[in-house]
């Protein structure tokens, strides 16, 4: 279903999902062309979580993300040019080239840390919530992380602290391992986690926890709206797990685009290679969102094409911007160690 909001914000969400998708597909292309080095992770297939979830936040809310942060930054209104510049290690990147893909973290959008250490942000997010609570202005902290993070001991420690101190923090777990390789359906979400469903773990700490379909932006939106309201009003932490099927392009360590996203693809996936067709038909939150927009009469396919075109143009401009940005001066290597 679609989020229960009016047409303009719906189209805005669609636009952001497309922006994320095209950004990542382009990024993969640039990497294959050898135009940047370093490891990176893409958000494709999880747009149905990040976009509706982040749309519900206030400007003063505080965000923490992981190595899989590009989508969160763009969902929050980040500039794809500055994001890409950071991934390229350029001076105009959000972190002036010092952070790179994993750590791009625009403070002006409320991001305090994107950590490449699995689980690293959860204690930090609880701390930001501690600060928010001490100010008492309804501000909340949000931790966006993957299912794997629950395997780190920092997480149960954080659940305990957040629960005991009723901290205003949203734990948003993006479980991209549904039907993951080697896992029986209904068995462990991750082959290396005995606590399943994952919601059992926060619940053991008396943190209300819900599992939802992460390909259904409407359900994500509705669930998060309720829970964010609760957190803001002082009810303490909440844990939401959104389940998505891992995008087949990211099954190896180095992503590959097997079927470039088009508006067309939402209605006809026959052009996609057979082994990935099912994913685009049944598990892609963006294509589903576009179909629902049309089915519900908000737009027709031509209008979607127009949005899509403007997004791809925006990406092209971003790519030019990023590559035009120079590397930082060498002197930059020795600044920012201390204030």
């Amino acid at each position: 279903m679609l989020p229960a909001i009016s047409k303009e914000p719906l189209l805005d969400q669609c636009r952001r999902m497309l922006l994320i998708r095209h950004f990542e597909e382009r990024l993969i292309g640039l990497h294959h062309e050898g135009r940047f080095r370093g490891h990176y992770h893409v958000y494709i297939g999880q747009e149905g979580t990040g976009v509706p979830a982040i749309s519900l936040l206030r400007p003063d809310d505080l965000l923490f993300s992981t190595h899989r942060n590009h989508g969160h930054i763009l969902a929050r209104g980040g500039d794809p040019g500055r994001l890409l510049a950071e991934i390229l290690g350029r001076r105009d990147g959000y972190n002036r080239g010092k952070g790179g893909s994993f750590h791009t973290s625009p403070r002006e959008l409320g991001f305090l840390q994107c950590s490449g250490v699995v689980g690293g942000i959860l204690p930090l997010g609880a701390g930001a919530a501690y600060a928010a609570k001490s100010r008492g202005a309804g501000q909340i902290a949000v931790c966006l992380f993957g299912d794997g993070a629950l395997e780190e001991g920092a997480i149960p420690e954080t659940f305990n602290l957040a629960s005991l101190w009723k901290l205003p923090v949203l734990f948003l777990c993006e479980n991209n391992g549904k039907y993951g390789a080697g896992n029986a359906v209904g068995a462990a979400q991750s082959s290396t986690m005995a606590a399943y469903p994952l919601t059992d773990l926060p619940q053991a700490y008396k943190i209300p926890a819900v599992q939802v379909d992460g390909t259904d932006a409407g359900v994500v939106h509705e669930t998060l709206r309720e829970n964010i309201d609760a957190i803001r009003s002082g009810a303490g932490p909440r844990f939401i797990e959104t389940l998505t099927v891992r995008w087949p392009g990211s099954e190896t360590n180095w992503p590959v685009v097997k079927a470039p996203t088009t508006v067309e693809l939402a209605w006809d996936a026959s052009g996609a290679p057979e082994d990935v067709r099912d994913w685009y038909r049944n598990s892609d939150p963006l294509l589903r969102f576009m179909r629902e927009l049309v089915e519900n009469g908000h737009v027709d396919r031509d209008e979607l094409e127009a949005i899509n075109r403007s997004v791809t143009e925006q990406i092209s401009a971003a790519v030019d911007f990023a590559f035009d940005s120079p590397y930082p001066d060498l002197a930059e290597a020795e600044t920012d160690v201390f204030v």
């Binding site: 690293g120 204690p123 609880a126 160690v337 204030v339």
Partner: protein, 322 residues
Amino acid sequence: MRNLKYHEAKLEALRELMEEDERVHLIGGTFFSLSPHRLKFAAIEKAWPDRVAAPPISELGFCGLATGAAMAGLRPVVDVTTGSFLFEAWPQVVNEAANVLYMSGGQVRAPVVFHMLHGLRGGGAAQHSGSPQAMLWNCPGLEIVLPSSPRDVKGLLKAAVASDNPTVFVDHSNLFETEGPVPDGDRIPLGQADVKRPGADVTLIATSFTVQRALAVAEALASDGIDVEVVDPRTLVPFDLDTIMASVEKTGRVVIADETHQSCGVAAEIAARIAESGFDHLKGPIRRVATLDVPVPYSQPLEEYIGPSEERIARAVREATR
């Protein structure tokens, strides 16, 4: 100037910090270890119940929490009890707090203070006697503070909290009963070494509780005609090499006494810096008096044997001036 005991000066600093800045929160409360002075801390808990939190036994979680709170605008002072337990919080300290300013390209600050009591404390054995400051000096992005007198503990604690950087405040419970003058004033800027005793013959650099031992050795050797200058760096990061080099240029002889283990310890780094910048002034090898490279034994005579005892310091100073 008032004379205060070290524990009194420390308590005064904590109280003033709470009074002066409501962004200061205390997370954990064993600033006075198991000493009787811990009971006096109760008054602070009582006066500011919303700003003193008693966390679970989750050093990793609550050190990270304090760091996140700092990133979001507070000035938390978090207590991990013993230096050995900072190891529990290592990922949050060295991978998150130390890196955030740099990694973010200067966007995000984490003005958190990590407090602990380090070192040989009498029966702490291998798992309660940790001195993590040497390891931390190898991790850029953290300020490291080592007070050694009532004046220093007050002035440095206030400066550590005022600093916009993450700071590790490494205290020593053997100092609690030390008495000394404490000015009414205020912060001691980080990065200023202190000549604790002037002297002409040999530069004895010492840190933390070992400063007190160094002073005792200096007094004892004075009667043998050896005039020892005792220099206390007070902070390792930032490090005041100038004050130390001024002393080395004068004496040409150096002994470094410190309680971290010898290999890659605090004394190693100070020795390497002096040998780099002051090679031509040196009249002989730099001598290190560090904790021997063995885990800390429980048994009293063994524990005393491995530490930078007055006897070992005196021997090294005599050798250096021979």
